[in-house]
C-alpha cells in the first residue's frame, strides 16, 4: 500500500546541508498500523509528508498502491491525496473562522462529494454532536483534534497519516483519539503515525525507530 524506496531528503539552508532522510526504505501493507518513533528533528514529519506527496524526495521513490507519487503531475498528486489520504496534525490546523461542522466539510473543496449529513454523523460518532456549531476557539484541544480526525475521515480515505496527533492533548483526550484511530484501523484502514507517545504503541501492529534520518530496528 505505502512504500518508500531508498528515500533521501536534503535541505539546504545558506551553505549548510541537512539530510533529513537518508536512504530510508519502509513499506506499510494495506490495513497495517505502523508507528514511527524518534526524537525531535529526526525527520519524522518529513517522512510523513513525503509519503503524503507533499515533499519531493531528493532521491528515491514514494509509492502508494504501486504508483510513484512524484512521477505524477502536481495536479494528479493532489487528486491522489484527496482520494486516498487523510491527514491529522499535531496543531490540528482547523480553519479558525468555521464551525466544527464546516471544518469537517473543508475537504469538499477538493471536489469530493460528501454532505452535511455525513459530516454531522461523523461528529456524532466522535462524540461531538453537541459541538457542531462551535468554532475551534470554543473547543477544548481534545475536541479540536477529534474535529480534525472527522475532517480526515470524511472522504473515507484508505490511508491516514497522523503527525503527533496526541502531542498536544491531555492523557484522557489522547487515549480517546488513539482509540478512534484504532477503530479506523479495525475497519481496514492503513495508518502511518508519527509519535513520541508510548501509548501509540499499544494500538499499532509495528513500531519503527527513526534516528537522524535513518531507520533503526
Amino acid at each position: 500500500m505505502i512504500a518508500l524506496e531508498n528515500v533521501s531528503k536534503l535541505y539546504r539552508r545558506d551553505s549548510e546541508e541537512v539530510r533529513a532522510l537518508d536512504e530510508v526504505s519502509i513499506s506499510v501493507a494495506a490495513g497495517e498500523f505502523v508507528a514511527v518513533r524518534g526524537p525531535s528533528g529526526c525527520g519524522k514529519s518529513t517522512l510523513l509528508l513525503t509519503v503524503g506527496g507533499m515533499i519531493r524526495p531528493t532521491e528515491g521513490r514514494a509509492l502508494i498502491d504501486g504508483e510513484d507519487l512524484y512521477a505524477l503531475s502536481a495536479r494528479d498528486r493532489a487528486r491522489r491525496r484527496a482520494e486516498k489520504i487523510g491527514f491529522v496534525f499535531q496543531m490540528f490546523h482547523l480553519v479558525p473562522y468555521l464551525s466544527a461542522l464546516d471544518n469537517v466539510l473543508v475537504p469538499t473543496l477538493a471536489g469530493m462529494s460528501a454532505g452535511r449529513k455525513q459530516a454531522r454523523e461523523l461528529l456524532e460518532r466522535l462524540q461531538l454532536g453537541h459541538r457542531v456549531r462551535h468554532r475551534p476557539a470554543e473547543l477544548s484541544t481534545g475536541e479540536r483534534q477529534r474535529v480534525a480526525l472527522a475532517r480526515a475521515l470524511l472522504k473515507r480515505p484508505a490511508i491516514i497519516l497522523a503527525d503527533e496527533p496526541t502531542g498536544n492533548l491531555d492523557p484522557a483526550s489522547a487515549a480517546q483519539v488513539m482509540s478512534y484511530l484504532a477503530d479506523f484501523h479495525r475497519d481496514g484502514g492503513t495508518l502511518l503515525l508519527v509519535s513520541h507517545d508510548p501509548l501509540a504503541a499499544e494500538h499499532t501492529d509495528r513500531t519503527v525507530q527513526l534516528l537522524e534520518g535513518h531507520l533503526a530496528g
Binding site: 514529519s45 507533499m54 495536479r75 493532489a78 496534525f89 475537504p107 469538499t108 473543496l109
Partner: protein, 379 residues
Amino acid sequence: MFIIRMLLREIRHRKLNFISALIAVITAVGLFVGVFTACEASRRETVRLMRNMGFNLIIVPEGTDMVDFWSQDYARKEMPEEYVHRLANSKDLSIQHLVARLQKRIEWRGRKILLTGILPEVQMKYLPAKSAMIEAPEPGTVYVGYELWRGTDIQVGQEIELGDKSFRVAMRLEEQGTKDDIRIYGHLHDVQEVLGKPGRINEVEALGCLCLGDALADIRQQLARELPGTHVTEFRSIAIMRAETRKMIENYAALIIPAILIVAAVWVGLLALGNVRERRAEIGVLRAMGVSSWPIAVLFLGKAVLIGLVGAALGFVLGTWLASHFGPQVFPLTARKIAPMYSLLSWSLIGAALMCVVASYLPIVQGVMQDPAQVLREE
C-alpha cells in the same frame, strides 16, 4: 456554495482586515466620484453661463481696423448678408448660434444712438438644432434701450420714427449698464432699409466652443477656408476665466485621483498580503487535503472582488454626498446642477473590483504557490 460560506465567514472573522480594505476603496471611489461629479456639474454650468453671457466670437469683414472697431463699437466695413448662410451651411466649423448684425451710430431725437439690425439666429445645417440664444425683433418692430425710453413717454405698442419709417415698440429693455442702454434693435432687413444698405451686414456674432487652448486658432483656420474675406476675434470673458478655473481643478483632479487610486491599491495589496500570510497554515492544510490552487485563489479573489464592489457602492454614495454637500461651496454657481451621476456607479463597481483584484493578485499568487509542506513542518 460552501466556498461562498467560507468566504463570508472569513470576512466576519477578520472584520478589521475587511473594514480597513473597505475604507481604502470607499475613500478612493468617494473622492473620484465626488470630484468627478462636481467637475461635471461645473462644466455644464460653465457652458450654461457662457451661453447666458452671450456670444464669444465676432466675425467682421477682413481688413477691419480693430482699434476703430472697439472705439466705434462696430466695423466700418461691411460684407454680404449671404455670408451668414454660407457659414451655416459649412460642415467644418466648430461654431454655433450665428446672428448677422448691421449696426451704425445715428442721430435720433437729437441724441447719438446705436441702431442695430438683427437677423434671427441661423441654425448650423450640419449640427443638432439648438434653441435660440436671443430673440430678434419681428419685422416692423423695435426694442428700445433703457436710457432711450427712461424719462420719455415711449411705451410698448407705441409707434416711433426711424428715418422716414415708423416702427412699433415691442419691448422696453431693462437697464444693462452697457452701451445696449443707448441702442435701438430692429429686424436686420428693416435696419438695412433705414440705413440704405440692403443685403449688407458688418458683423456676425457666434458662440464658439468653450475649449481652452488653441480653439481660436482652429476657428480662424476654418474660417479662412470657408470665408476668406472675414476676420474673427474672441471676447475673453468671465466665463472663460471660469472654464480656466475648472480646467485647473480638473488638472488637480487628474493628478490627485490617480495618486489616491495608487495609494488605495497599495493599501489593499498590503492588506491582502497580510491576510495571505496570516492564513498560510490554512492554505497549507487545504493543499494537504488535495484542494487545488483554483478554489484557494477563489477564496482570496472573491474577497477582493467583494471589497471592490461593496467599497465602490459605498464610495459612490459618499462621493455623491460629498459633491452635493461641499460642491456648492467649491463651485457656488453649480449648486443646483450637482446631481448623482449614476453612470459613474457602474464604472466605479467595475473599476474598484478590478483594482482590488490587481492589487491582491501578487500576494494571492504568492500564497497559493507557497510550499505547503514548509508551512506544515514549521508547526
